[in-house]
Amino acid sequence: MSETILKLDNVTKVYPNGTVANRDINMEFEKGEIHSIVGENGAGKSTLMKVIFGIERPSSGSVTYKGEETNFSSSMDAIKAGIGMVHQHFMLIPSFSIVDNIILGDEPTSGIFIDKKEAARRCQELSDKYNFELDVNAKVSTLSVAKRQKVEILKTLYRNAELIILDEPTSVLTPQETDKLFDQLRSFKEQGHTILFISHKLEEVKKISDKISVIRNGVSKGTYLNEDLSMQQLTNLIIGRDLDSDMNAYKTHEDFHNEKALVIKDLYMERNGKPVLDHMSFAVKNGEILGIAGVEGNGQQELVRCITGLEETAYTGDIEICGNRVNELNIKGRRDLGMAYIPEDRMGDGIAGSLPISDNLISTYYDRDDINNKVFMNSKAIKETAENLVKTFAVKTKTIDAAVNSLSGGNIQKVVVAREYNTNSKFMIAEQPTHGIDIGSEEFVHHKLIEMRNAGAGILLVSANLNEVMSLSDRIIVMFDGQIAGYFPNAKDVSESELGMYMLGAKHQTPQEIGGALND
């Protein structure tokens, strides 16, 4: 008989703003299994994990761990009980060493001081035991994403976690790195650890799980043995309807005479003496989506900041937007030439949270003639514009006067996309446009991007989500270490694992092949 390690009884979580994130969830987890929890973005997986890990308290219902009802007041209690969590966004301090990051909160001491030697010894031992191949004295800021994730896992092992929760651990990894991670997870399982694997990528879930639990809309749709469940059944359980996975069907193919929305020539920038953008050249044509794939931290953010004009560090090379050299222009000047931009950090850059939806829907063209009179802004026109956008983009709200941060993540993203859409731009940068939003909104955003593309806009899509890049793009660039590692003129002809090789730096095309990114 296997033994139950964690049990959820009628767990319900209602947030103060009235959002019901989990409703009457019942689940059981057995010791030594790899148990996946799947569901679309926004289905309530993360909230459920927070409840288990003591970050949130359930509004009603109970969590039983090792036969005792838990009453965690913070994650500290969960950690003490033997639960560890690897968060989707790493919880590391870059300026600390690996050792310091691992021992933080549970430091070995001698007297009143931290025993640094003992700490380093223990961490190295642990890293060696699980074949993590880390030099534990290195600073975290020098590590790759995959290595940072290892540090996160070591943190939980250092605290003797028996139950390890991994929240979307593969979202930042290449397919090859994912395989490695899975090998590691299996070895944890053999050593008696229980793994709780959160994901919305079904193939991975099928590959690694013993059992699968499905959440839809905050409600549990049951727990199944992996072998009892086909891919199709799983999909149906998760979304309850069929999805358009092939965006290509919506693409039209008009000729826009090879006009370029964006041209980048020999872009170079360095930081602390190291190149972060290493002589990149490429172009985005009107009427196409150019996808940039790559593991986070390979220069994508810097590239976007250079193109938008937000970069503070000096760079060399040429940037042309809609035929004009824009190196000397600030973001306003570039927007005026026809640039629109969906930013990655939607809460930080994309909205002013406490201001009304209407204010947030006009920020990037607030000075346009159609919403201004001679002296004052035309509040009637603003209202009409905002109401139309809210309607067209199906933003769920009672009123355009509501503060934008009272909306759900998906609806906030719709506000951002609606605003950028309404700039009628010829060039759009979409940076992680569907990160962390529900599948309905995701589909909506994808359709709008295709619509803009069909109307002749050039779109630069930067995304860590390979599926997104592959299903939307016409052409694909892979970035590795600030360079273009690979260029694929036909997005349909490339496989996920092929892209993965380039993302990892295992493969690198010749300059001639890469040159097509600019000249095709």
Binding site: K332, G348, I351, S363, S379, I400
Partner: protein, 370 residues
């Protein structure tokens, strides 16, 4: 009309706490009541007749026309200081330089007012205003410029500039425009043409009062109806969002600094030409710039709110002054305590939050039921 067509998205709030404006008003009222209650407790400790004391603070200014006149006359320059701070804070700036601008523009006013450049009793004060506004507008730029261009800590820099401007003012007044008549360092007497007279003497209403009303209305319109106001709003709420949207943080902070400096110049001129006959740098304008920041917090950066707050505070100060006259045990600084408590309470988001949440939850559930 179009209003009906779109009514789905422009729902009118019911008259309940979920209406943010009404909620703010309730919050403000309760905060004031709590502050007065605490003041009463303090008065019980230090005054022999606390009931009469609180009565005097609250209603004393109404007992004589000249009391209320004094309130009307003195609140104007404070209101200007509050408006200056409001403009800066609204756009997200932490330039605390108003104090220094008040003091140094005082020297400009004193110099022009004592110079026989015109004999017109209208032109002379106008020139004083223009001089102070010009100098104020220029000097206020420095901390905002350094912040916007180089990321210098504008709070510390502006506070240091306050001390530096005060020192320069003392130097200028002592060496260039002082008189030997008086003991402390102060300027020569203003010429009679520079002084501002009353339009309605019993309540001490002067042209400055009208100036304040006009400026307040203009500012209200600028902050709520124009592109500049929109820029201030989004930059004040989320500067990164403003930058992303293409609002030039640099231009915006320079613009708001100039407006604030000009307002400070108006304030210092008003104060000097209505309340003094010569300028004493260590005394005449000290503290007004700082009080402005508090007013701006009381008025939540809304020009009309700020002016009301300025009147309210000056009114209480007058009440406290009347009280000090009858009961020497209570110093007039007690008003600061009222002011402090109100500011702390109204800037607390969670103050009375439960009340509002309960209402919102109820409405949310009702809607869910639909």
């Amino acid at each position: 009309m179009t209003d009906n067509k779109n009514s789905k998205y422009s729902k009118n709030y019911k008259l309940s706490i979920s209406n943010p404006k009404l909620f703010d008003a309730i919050k403000m009222t309760i905060a004031i009541l709590i502050a007065l209650a605490i003041t009463f407790v303090i008065l019980c400790l230090i005054s022999k007749d606390p009931v009469n004391a609180i009565k005097t603070i609250l209603f004393g200014p109404l007992s004589k026309k000249r009391y209320i006149g004094a309130v009307i006359e003195s609140f104007i320059s404070f209101a200007f200081a509050g408006l200056a701070a409001g403009v800066l804070f609204k756009a997200g700036g932490f330039n605390l330089g108003a104090e220094g601008i008040f003091i140094i523009t005082g020297a400009v006013v004193a110099w022009i007012a004592a110079s026989p450049i015109t004999t017109s009793p209208i032109l002379h004060p106008v020139l004083c205003y223009l001089g102070a506004m010009l100098v104020g507008g220029i000097l206020m730029i420095l901390p905002s410029f350094l912040k916007a261009k180089f990321g210098t800590n504008e709070m510390v820099v502006s506070l240091m500039s306050n001390s530096i401007y005060a020192a320069i003012t003392a130097y200028i007044v002592r060496n260039w425009i002082s008189t030997a008549q008086r003991g402390s360092v102060s300027s020569k007497d203003y010429l009679p043409t520079a002084r501002i007279g009353y339009l309605y003497e019993p309540l001490r209403i002067s042209a400055c009062f009208i100036l304040l009303i006009v400026v307040t209305i203009v500012l209200y319109l600028v902050m709520n109806k124009t592109k500049l106001g929109y820029q201030m709003r989004i930059a004040g709420t989320n500067p990164k969002f403003a930058e992303y949207s293409g609002v030039s943080a640099f231009r915006l902070s320079i613009t708001t600094a100039v407006i604030a400096g000009v307002l400070c110049g108006m304030g210092s001129t008003t104060q000097l030409l209505t309340q003094t006959s010569y300028y004493t740098p260590a005394q005449s304008l000290v503290g007004i710039g700082f009080s402005g920041m508090l007013l701006s917090m009381l008025g939540k950066n809304n020009p009309i709110g700020i002016v009301i707050a300025a009147f309210f505070i000056k009114y209480l100060e007058q009440g406290a002054a009347v009280l000090y006259f009858v009961d020497g045990a209570v110093p007039s600084e007690i008003v600061s305590i009222v002011e402090g408590i109100v500011i702390m309470l109204i800037s607390s988001q969670y103050f009375l939050r439960r009340l509002r949440e309960r209402q919102l939850l109820k409405e949310g559930l009702e809607e869910h039921a639909e």
